[in-house]
């Protein structure tokens, strides 16, 4: 899931500036689960904006242009008349809205990461979308995202008592986790292997996937 966080309200209001007709779009999937762009948060922004809020809708998945078109179509007249759209969804959703409507879009959320949900309000980054998954070699734990240095042959010298130096030795060193997991799985030889350099050209430009 894409994890988002609400931007401070005053920052959002500053970004909206003097715009008088604001249409609010929420997200019925990820941002609803994060409680950042569901019905409740859309309502809250509408009440903050009062008469400046000219309309609102929670789109099931605003990052999917097809769904966006479907869910926005009953509101097209108001959207057309709006001078800004406040997007309570991730960056992909906000850009889809911008692309589809051509309107000025103000992001109401910051997009943080691709994460795992422990419970509502507790999310952990688990995937950097690196395009080259190797977790079969690392006990099902991703060092690209969970090692602060993204090392492939860790741990580094900053590990102390099983903890990571980044952030002051409060979190577990992921390479110690990987070691333990592989040991449990009877695959310690995997830990000892040298993982060679990554091909960064895969991330050198924005990714497009066209399978047909």
């Amino acid at each position: 899931m894409i994890i988002t966080k609400s931007k401070p309200k005053e920052l959002v209001l500053r970004s909206l500036g003097g715009r008088k007709r604001v249409f609010i779009v929420g997200c019925g999937t990820c941002a609803t689960l994060c409680q950042t762009g569901g019905e409740e948060q859309v309502e809250e922004m509408a009440s903050i904006l009062r008469e400046r809020s000219v309309g609102k809708v929670v789109v099931e998945t605003p990052c999917d242009i097809r769904v966006l078109k479907r869910d926005l179509s009953p509101h097209l007249g108001i959207v057309e008349d709006a001078d800004a759209i406040l997007a309570l969804c991730c960056g992909a959703g906000a850009q889809a809205i911008s692309e589809f409507t051509g309107k000025m879009v103000v992001p109401g959320l910051d997009t943080l990461f691709v994460g795992e949900t422990e419970r509502i309000g507790r999310f952990y980054e688990r995937c950097r979308a690196c395009g080259d998954c190797i977790i079969d070699e690392t006990g099902g734990v991703c060092p690209i995202v969970r090692c602060a240095k993204g090392l492939l042959n860790g741990p580094c010298g900053g590990m102390a008592n099983g903890k990571c130096e980044a952030g002051g030795h409060t979190r577990d060193c992921v390479w110690v986790l990987i070691y333990r997991r592989l040991k449990e799985q009877g695959m310690l030889e995997r830990f000892k292997e040298i993982r060679t350099v990554r091909d960064r050209s895969k991330r050198a430009e924005s990714q497009e996937l066209k399978t047909r």
């Binding site: 602060a148 240095k149 993204g150 090392l151 492939l152 042959n153 860790g154 741990p155 580094c156 010298g157 900053g158 590990m159 102390a160 008592n161 099983g162 903890k163 130096e165 980044a166 952030g167 002051g168 030795h169 390479w175 110690v176 070691y179 310690l188 830990f191 000892k192 292997e193 040298i194 993982r195 060679t196 350099v197 960064r200």
Partner: protein, 312 residues
């Protein structure tokens, strides 16, 4: 043992027990400080390490400092290179430059995370990790190619060393990591500072390395410095007897009297430390980190070397 391009590697390959020192360039454009520090070390060590933005602080370049030290003092250097601040292109450039300028030893370090440095907003690079860096150096030195197989004009004459941490807990994870770096082609190991000789012994026993290991020590120039290590650097245990020794050496007296006493505590403690290492392990030498306390290096190193020659 591969061909020795440096005096440091030659001494190691001849089985000599070696001492190395360390110089830390600062955030400065002045070179006199590093030249002075290296001059103090020169007659006591086979080479000196030159740090590369330690603790993620942006300082004068280790490559430039290494070159200047060698040129001005004649002391061979071990140039630190972290993979934190440069991608594979920049690292390749610096390795080529180092070789061209007569620097013959590099020590690869991951580098403390930028979050704890003096520009915490900086992007940490880590395009390569230290193991991959070793592989890259091997390709350059042994096969004359860069990481992507592009040919290099001229011979690359460098030795590459790596770091190990005997204080690491769990130690077996660290040992596996260092083994990887040896497998990748590292030629020597230098360790994180150790105060507890038993930790150094256990590390060497568990690793049973096929390449020379220099154990890192850090004589503290005051009780305050030792206290800082205990409180601020997690994972490094400092024996109480050493700390107590420093504390009582600082009891009232003239500053020079106190300094002599501190020197004596360090000479006594680390001479015994080294004697024990030499007696019980195959440690190839000692790396002495000083951070402004260069005067102690000769006192410790010369004492050990004199004793080996039967002069004490």
């Amino acid at each position: 043992m591969k061909k020795a391009y440096s005096g440091f590697m030659r001494a190691l390959s001849e089985g000599k027990f070696v001492f190395t020192g360390e110089v830390e360039p600062k955030k400065t454009t002045k070179l006199d400080g590093i030249i002075r520090a290296a001059s103090v070390l020169k007659s006591h060590v086979v080479a000196c390490n030159v740090t590369d933005n330690p603790r993620a602080r942006a300082y004068l370049s280790s490559l430039v400092a290494s070159y200047v030290i060698q040129r001005e003092t004649g002391l061979e250097t071990i140039c630190h290179m972290t993979v934190r601040d440069r991608n594979r292109l920049a690292l390749t450039s610096d390795l080529l430059g180092a070789s061209a300028l007569g620097i013959r030893n590099v020590l690869v370090i991951s580098g403390d995370h930028t979050m704890g440095g003096d520009n915490p907003g900086a992007m940490p690079v880590y395009d390569l990790d230290s193991t991959q860096f070793v592989q890259m150096v091997r390709g350059m030195v042994d096969n004359g190619i860069d990481l992507n197989g592009n040919p290099i004009d001229g011979e690359v004459r460098l030795h590459v060393g790596v770091v190990g941490n005997p204080n690491a807990d769990p130690l077996e994870v660290e040992v596996c990591k260092v083994e990887r770096k040896i497998k990748a082609g590292a030629e020597f190991i230098q360790t994180q500072i150790v105060f507890d000789v038993e930790k150094a012994k256990r590390f060497l026993k568990d690793l049973n390395p096929s390449i020379p290991v220099l154990i890192g020590i850090f004589p503290c120039k005051s009780y305050r410095v030792a206290e800082f290590i205990v409180n601020k650097i997690p994972g490094i245990s400092v024996p109480k007897e050493y700390i107590d020794g420093l504390k009582s050496a600082e009891s009232p007296g003239s500053p020079s009297e106190s300094k002599n006493k501190i020197d004596a505590v360090n000479m006594d403690y680390f001479s015994n430390f080294i004697k024990e290492l030499k007696k019980t392990t195959k440690a190839a030498g000692i790396h002495i980190m000083t951070m402004g306390y260069e005067s102690i290096v000769g006192k410790i190193a010369d004492g050990v070397l004199d004793e080996a020659r039967g002069l004490n």
